[in-house]
Amino acid sequence: MRLLNLKPDRTWSIALAALPFAALLAAYMMGSAMRLAENPNDKLLPSLTAMGEAVKHYALEPDPRSGLYLMWNDTLSSMSLLLTALAISTFIALVFGILIGLLPIMGATFGPVVGVASMVPPLALLPILFIIMGLGDAAKIALIVIGTALKLIRDVALRVEDLPREQLIKAQTLGASTWQIGLRVVLPQMLPRLIDSVRLELGPAWLFLIAAEAIASDSGLGYRIFLVRRYLAMDVIIPYVIWITLLAFLMDLALRLLQRKAFPWFAGARAA
């Protein structure tokens, strides 16, 4: 039988999927044990117990200074920034994306500038951003918005242009005005597609959040990683990274679910 046609069944699939995770864990534990055998104070690859300790310390015990559970506090602070920024980005992308994609005049005017601007490395703009927006959450949100909204606008505009021309004609023959077409034909069809685009931008959004928190902040997941990085406290960094990965994964999952539940028509329409 060709390898190509060899399909593992459910049980096998699960076993196979677990394999690389187990291998990674084992490799880490070996590496860690080796380094710790050489130097019991080694910080680079802490033992699982050390990491467990750190997690317990950060997540389960209140910080004596502030009385906060640091890890939850960091998560809350980062997530609220991230979600606010993504909400703003999404809204901007929806409005401008539809305008640019639907109206040839808007497309001609703003299409090129958005295309070029989306190539600007946003991190390089940080100092200017901080001056204009101040150092509070506004600047961090602005960074994430700038870093993701331009791409999203481009994406939405392209997808509006991808709508079958027939639909727009049909709407016109039903007497729809441009505004009505935008509102009732284009907008609702863009929402589920936007979810796909937002999922792609989650990675960059986290990156910008972490970068912004690294510069000026007093809480947040990125802040904590940066703070303890100078001491090479990998026992904190590694659990935080895993936690961020998990959060990113859950957000992705939630968006996929939202797409499936809120837009039941979309799966069928996409397949067609």
């Binding site: 023959t173 039903l174 007497g175 009505q180 979309f266």
Partner: protein
């Protein structure tokens, strides 16, 4: 009413002449079937009628007035695909025309107005045989049901002209026969002029009161680009009986023999070659 007049219409894309010298008067209430080989400009013709494309030369008049330069509610349309809105339920797809008409700002009706529009839409859906499917999304309908829906949607705004671009091209023959009955009924019951593009000659003759064939007179490939298709025209008055058998015999030499007399005795075909140049004489 709404006679449509094509007055020496040409359509070119850059150097590529798609249609040339189209002189044509479509009487009100006619059901014109448009046939011709792929790429000869049938869709282009329809798009000009829609107002989506402008003729390069000549003009199109509807009821004596120049054609509006953009699609509007006077002219309904059904395409082969993508005619219905995938994000709306069957019911909403039919209602949306009324909503566009009555709710300028939100494009959505509420309360009493909504109930009225809904009742009307349900009635129409029943008429096209979609009762019971009101709450489904188009993707879960079969191809035939989708086209029924598209028809209901277009009819709901009561256009004076209905344009169909290979509306049944993607359907099973069995389903197609059913929907033929429906479109005839729609045409009978509404005060409509229908222009339909089709690839299927038997369909053209079964449905149309008039069959118009587009063809390109010059067949050498290097000339195809430069000279567009001209118009060959056939009016078939007794339709349903006329098509069927005899047309099937002609199938494999289609489309050049469209202009020949239909062999069946009980049909009264009115044959004319409208194209001045290059079209072959009948027989």
């Amino acid at each position: 009413m709404t006679a449509i007049v094509f007055d020496n219409v040409w359509k070119e894309y850059g150097d590529h002449v798609v249609l040339e010298r189209i002189d044509l008067t479509i009487a009100p209430r006619s059901f014109v079937a448009l046939v011709g080989p792929s790429g000869c400009g049938k869709t282009t013709f329809l798009r000009m009628l829609l107002g989506e494309e402008k003729p390069t030369r000549g003009k199109i008049l509807v009821g004596g007035n120049p054609l509006k330069t953009e699609p509007d509610a006077d002219r309904g349309v059904v395409f082969q695909r993508y005619s219905v809105f995938p994000h709306l339920t069957v019911l909403a797809n039919v209602m949306i025309g009324r909503e566009f008409e009555r709710a300028c700002l939100l494009g959505k009706l509420f309360g009493e107005a909504r109930r009225a529009a809904e009742a009307e839409a349900r009635h129409l859906l029943e008429a096209v045989g979609l009762k019971g499917h009101e709450d489904k999304y188009p993707a879960s309908l079969s191809g035939g049901m989708q086209q029924r829906l598209a028809l209901a949607q277009a009819i709901n705004r009561k256009p004076r002209i209905l344009l169909l671009d290979e509306p049944f091209g993607a359907l099973d023959p069995g389903i197609r026969a059913d929907i033929h009955v429906l479109i005839r009924r729609i045409w009978n019951e509404n005060s409509l002029t229908i222009v339909m593009v089709t690839h299927d000659l038997s369909e053209a003759f079964r449905l149309g009161t008039r069959v118009i064939a587009f063809e390109r007179p010059r067949n050498r490939p290097e000339e195809l680009e430069r000279y567009g298709a001209t118009l060959g025209e056939v009016s078939a008055k007794a339709i349903v009986a006329a098509s069927g058998a005899s047309i099937t015999q002609d199938f494999d030499v289609w489309p050049r023999k469209v202009a020949e007399p239909l062999p069946s005795a009980d049909t009264q075909l009115d044959l004319k070659l409208a194209s001045a140049n290059g079209a072959k004489p009948p027989g």
